[in-house]
Amino acid sequence: MADLDTTVTPNVTSVRKEHLGSVDEAGQPARIRQHAEFRNGNEAAALAARDIGFHLMGYFPITPSTEVAEALSEMQAEGEHDIAMVPGDGEHGAAGICYGAALGGGRVLNVTSSQGLLYALEQLPVQAGTRTPMVLNVATRTVSGPLDIRCDHSDLYFVLNTGWIILLARDPQAVYDLNFAAVRIGEHKDVQLPVLVAYDGFFTSHQKRRLEVFDDPDAVRRFLGTRDTPITALDPTRPVTFGPYMNDPDLINNKMQLTEAMAAARQVIPEVLAELAVLTGRTYPLVDAYRMDDADVAVVLLNSAAETAKEVADRLRADGQKVGVVSLNALRPFPGEELRALFRNVRAVLVGDRGDSYGAGNGNLGLEIRAALQQDPENRTLVLNRIYGLGGRDFYDADAEQFFTEVLEAAKRGAVETPFAYHGAYAGDPEKKPLPGLPPIATEEVSRGMAQVTRDEASGRLKVELAPLWAMTAVPCRVAPGHGGCPGCGVFPVLHQAYSVLEGDLVVLFQTGCAMVVTTGYPHTAHRITYIHNLFQNGAATLSGLVEMYLERMRRGELPGSSDITFMMVTGDGGMDIGMGPALGAANRNHRMIILEYDNQGYMNTGAQLSYATPMGHRTATSEVGEARAGKAFHHKDTPQIFAACHLPYVFTASEGYPEDFMRKIAKAQWYAKREGLVYGKVLSFCPLNWRTTDDAAEEVLQAALDSCFFPLYEVEKGHTTLTYDPEAVGRRRPVADWLGQMGKTRHLLTPDNAERLKAIEDEVERRWQRLKIMHAHEGL
C-alpha cells in the first residue's frame, strides 16, 4: 500500500499532446509514420481495431457505439482486415462470446454503450476475476429509463466496481491511441485484466476531427507484440480449469490478487503510455492537468466537457485569473496520489459529474476526489460537486464559465456554500398547460365486430368473418397521426390493421425499436391507449407480470371498472433476438397475451444492422457487401417455428401487404389470448429506408416475398399447421430472385459472382417451404 506521505512524482503534465520532437535513438527515427485523416471517435476505434488486428470481435449494436462495428464490417467487406466478427444475440451474449474468445488466448474487442453495457455488466466481474484481458470500447450514453440515447457517464459509473481498467479518451485521437495502449496494459504480466476505453457518445463518437493514423503496420506490431498468455483454453496438452467453485476462505484472496493487479497497473499504464508517446509524439499522463502550475482553483471534468472548459480557462487566464482544468486519462486505477499532489496548493476545485450516485450526496467522481483528498492530512482544498449534462445536455462555454465563477467564489470566501447541486436542470413554468390529447376512445367505438370469430365445433378451430375494409374506416385508430416514422414505414399499417379488428380495451407494451421511438418522442405520444415501453430484452416478462396482476386484481375485485382487457406486446424482429429468453419464458408459462412481431428484417432503429431474422446475403450495416464479403453470412431465424415448439394455442405469420389475412389472424389471436394463453405472430413489415426501395414500393416487394415462398403465410392453431396462402396453388410462385431484385439491399445477389449464395438462399427457402407443405398436408402436424 502506498504511503501517503511518500513524495509521489506526479504523473501529470501541463499540456497534453505536445509533440515531443523527433526522438532519434541508434539512428532510427522512433516516431512512427502517420498520416492525417478526418474521423470521429467511433471510426478512430475501428481504425485502431484494424491496425491492432484483433482476432475476434463480439458485439451487439447500440447507439452511439454501433458505428464501430459498422465501420469494421465495411472494411471487412473490402478485405481490409480479418477480424472474426461475431454478432451477439444481445450484449449479454456478446460479452459471453468475448469472454470465451479471450479464454482462447487471442485478442478480443467489444464495443457498447448504455443499456448494452448494463446488460453485459454481469459478465464483467467474471472476466476480471478470472484475469482474462480484452478491450471494450464504450461510447458513453445515459441509462434508461426513460430511454435517452445521448451522452452522460451513468453507464460508465456502473463499471467502477468490476475490476476492469478504465481509460478515458477525450477526443477521437485519444480513442485511437488509447486502444493500442489498452491491449498492452491489459496483457502485461503484472496486470492481466480487461481494459475499457470510454469516450463520450456523440460529442466524441460522432464528431469528426483531424486524426493521425499510423502508416507503418510493422512498427505497430513491434509495439504490440503478441498476446503471450501462459494458459489458454485451447491447449489440450495443458488441461486447465477456468472458473472453479470457490467459496471462503479463498475468494477474498482472489480479490486481493485483483487489487494488486490494479496497483501494478498504476505503474504499467504510465510505462506503456510513455512507450507509445515515443511512437506517436502524444502523451497521456494519468491526470491531464491543464494550466495547473500555479492554479488557485480548478474544474475537474471527465472527457469532452474538459476540452470545452480549457477554452474558457484560457480566457480567464488572459484576464489574470489563476484557473486550471483537470481531467483523467485513467479512472481505474484511480489516480488518487496524483490528484493529491496536484491539488496540494489549490484552494478550491469544482468536480463535475455527468452522472449521479442518487442519494449519495455526490456523484461518483465527486466522492472519489473528496475521499482522495481526505487522505492527505495537510490538504485544505475546498470541493464543490455539480451534476451536469445528464442525458446529453450540451456543455457550452457558458456552463464552464459558471463552474469557474462558483469555484472562484468559494476560493475567495474560503468556504463552500453549496457543496452539491444539479447544474442545468430546469424547474419548469407552472403557467404552461400541456396541449390536450385526443379524446379518449370509448370501448364501444372499438367494439364493432369488424371480425366475427366463431369456433368450428367439428375441428375445434376458429373461423373468422371480416367486415368489408371500407367499414373498418369507422373504427378510430388507437395510434394517432403525427408520429415520426419514415415516409412509407410499414409499422403503422401493421398497427392500424391489427387495431381495426382488435376489440375492446387494449393495453400494449412496445419493446425498444422504431415503433417505440417514433411514437413516443417526449413530451408527446401517439398512443391513444395505455402503452408501456420496456427494454427489448425484457418486454415479454414485463407484460406477463402485468397480465397476472390484472388477473389477480380482478380476482380480488379491485378493478371494477376494467371489464375485459386484452394485452399485446409489439416488438421488432431484433427484440426477438435479445428478448428471446424472456419471450420463451412467457410462452412456456402461457400467459394470456399476444406477442406481435413486426419483422422488417433488421435492427432498423439503430440504422439497419443485421438481426438474426435478416435473410442470408442481405446487405446491412454490419453485413456489408464488397470484394471480400457478400452480406449476411447465415440464414434467417425461423422464429414462428420456435414459438410453435412451445405448443402455444396459436402461432401465425402475416404480411402488412395482405391485410385481410393478417386481420383474420389477429382476430383469432385475440380470441385465444383471452381464453387460452399466449399467441405469437410475425408480420412482415416494409422498411423502405433500409430495404433501399422507393417509399411506395411496399405492395410489390411484400407480394414478391410471399410469392417466392421466402415468407410463407401460415398459422399453427392448436398444433395444426395451415398454409393460408399458397402461391403455387394459384399459379403465382416466383423465383426468390424476383423478390431480391426489387431491393437495393439485395440486388448484389443477382450478379454472377453471387450465384452460389443465391442458390443457397433458394435452397433454404425451398427446404423450409416443403417442410411447411408437409405439415400443412399432415393431419397430425
Binding site: 464528431q207 476540452e307 480549457k310 385526443l438 367494439s447 369507422a474 409499422v491 408527446h524 411506395d696
Partner: protein, 330 residues
C-alpha cells in the same frame, strides 16, 4: 492554404435540413476537404436523435487555422453561414437563430420566391437563393451536390475545385455512376444562384435560441409518463414531404378503404353514415396533409386510380387538405 476571414475565432457553418436530403453528407464532404486539403483545422458533426428519414436535422462545421486546436464539441450557435436545404424550414425561428450580422444565408427555392421568414435576418446578411431541388431533379443528383457548388462560390476561402474533387471522391468507390451527375449538379450550383439584396430587416447579430423544454422538474409528471394520449396529433409533418403529395379525385374514388389499410401516416379523412356499429356507408373526403409525409403508398394501392401524385406547389396542401381533427384548428 485557405485563409479564413478572422483568425481569432472559428468560422462556423450550420446546415438546416431534414433527414434524407444529404445535409450530413454535404457537411462531411466540405469539412473533410477543408481539413485534409485546404490546410485548415476543423470539426464536423450533426444533431442526432433517433430521427428517421424526413425529420429535422442540423449539421455543424467548425473551421479554424491549422494550428488552432478545436476543443469545444458544442453545437454551432453563431453561424457565419446557414444553408437551408428545405425551404419550409425558413418558417422556424431556430433556423436562423444566432445568425451573424454579416453572415451568409443560402436557401433552396424556386426563382422569384422570397419566403416570409427572411425578413427576420440582419439587414447586412448576404442572402442567396438557388433552386437546388429542381436542379438536382434535372441532373438526377441530390440537392446537397448543388448546394456545395453554391457554397464554394459564396464562401470566398473555399476552393471550388478541391470541393468538387472531394465530392467526386466521396462517390467514386460506392456509387461511381453518380459522379458525373453530381458534378453537373455542383457546377450548376456554382452559377445558377441569385444574390437577393435588401432582404433582412434586423440590426446586428441575431440572438441565440436555447429553448426551454416544455416540462421542468417542478412541473413534469413523475417518472416521465405522458398523460395527453394521442398528442402527436398536434405535430405538423409537412416538411417531411420532398416535393410530391397524393391528391384524391372524388369522381374516381369508390371508397373501398384499401388506401386506409396501407397509409403509414394515418392521415386519410373519412366520414361514415349510420355509424352503428358497422356503418351503412363511408366516404373518403381527402387527405390531412399536416400528417402526410408523401410516401404515395395510397396511390400504389388504389384500384381505381383515384389517388394521383402531384408536385407540391406552395399553398396546394392548404387548399386541398381536409382536417382529420377539426378541434385542433380551433
Amino acid at each position: 492554404m485557405a485563409s479564413l476571414p478572422d483568425n481569432d475565432r472559428f468560422f462556423e457553418l450550420r446546415f438546416e435540413s431534414i433527414g434524407g436530403l444529404g445535409a450530413h453528407a454535404a457537411g462531411q464532404i466540405l469539412a473533410t476537404a477543408a481539413v485534409l486539403r485546404m490546410g485548415l483545422n476543423g470539426a464536423h458533426f450533426s444533431s442526432y436523435g433517433s430521427e428517421k428519414k424526413g425529420s429535422a436535422i442540423k449539421s455543424f462545421i467548425r473551421l479554424g487555422p491549422a494550428d488552432q486546436p478545436i476543443r469545444t464539441s458544442a453545437p454551432v450557435e453563431s453561424p457565419d453561414v446557414v444553408v437551408v436545404f428545405h425551404r419550409a424550414l425558413l418558417g422556424h425561428p431556430a433556423t436562423i437563430a444566432g445568425f451573424r450580422a454579416n453572415g451568409t444565408l443560402i436557401f433552396t427555392g424556386p426563382p422569384g420566391e422570397i419566403p416570409d421568414g427572411l425578413a427576420q435576418l440582419p439587414r447586412t446578411a448576404n442572402v442567396i437563393r438557388i433552386d437546388a431541388q429542381r436542379i438536382a431533379a434535372e441532373e438526377e443528383s441530390r440537392p446537397n451536390a448543388v448546394l456545395l457548388g453554391t457554397l464554394a462560390e459564396a464562401v470566398p476561402f473555399l476552393d471550388a475545385e478541391i470541393l468538387l474533387d472531394a465530392l467526386n471522391e466521396a462517390f467514386a468507390r460506392k456509387r461511381p455512376e453518380a459522379v458525373a451527375r453530381n458534378q453537373a449538379a455542383f457546377h450548376r450550383g456554382t452559377t445558377e444562384f441569385e444574390r437577393l439584396p435588401d432582404i433582412g430587416r434586423a440590426e446586428g447579430d441575431l440572438p441565440i435560441i436555447r429553448p426551454d423544454p416544455f416540462w421542468g422538474y417542478q412541473t413534469a409528471p413523475l417518472g416521465g409518463v405522458v398523460l395527453n394520449a394521442g398528442s402527436t396529433a398536434w405535430n405538423d409533418l409537412s416538411t417531411s414531404r420532398t416535393g410530391w403529395l397524393p391528391v384524391l379525385d372524388l369522381d374516381k374514388c369508390i371508397h373501398c378503404g384499401m388506401c386506409d389499410m396501407v397509409c403509414p401516416d394515418l392521415c386519410l379523412v373519412w366520414t361514415a353514415e349510420g355509424n352503428e356499429p358497422v356503418p351503412a356507408a363511408v366516404r373518403l373526403t381527402g387527405v390531412d396533409y399536416r400528417y402526410c409525409k408523401g410516401c404515395l403508398r395510397c396511390i400504389e394501392t388504389c384500384p381505381t386510380g383515384a389517388m394521383t401524385r402531384e408536385a407540391e406547389t406552395p399553398g396546394l396542401a392548404e387548399r386541398l387538405g381536409q382536417p382529420l381533427f377539426p378541434q385542433l384548428d380551433g
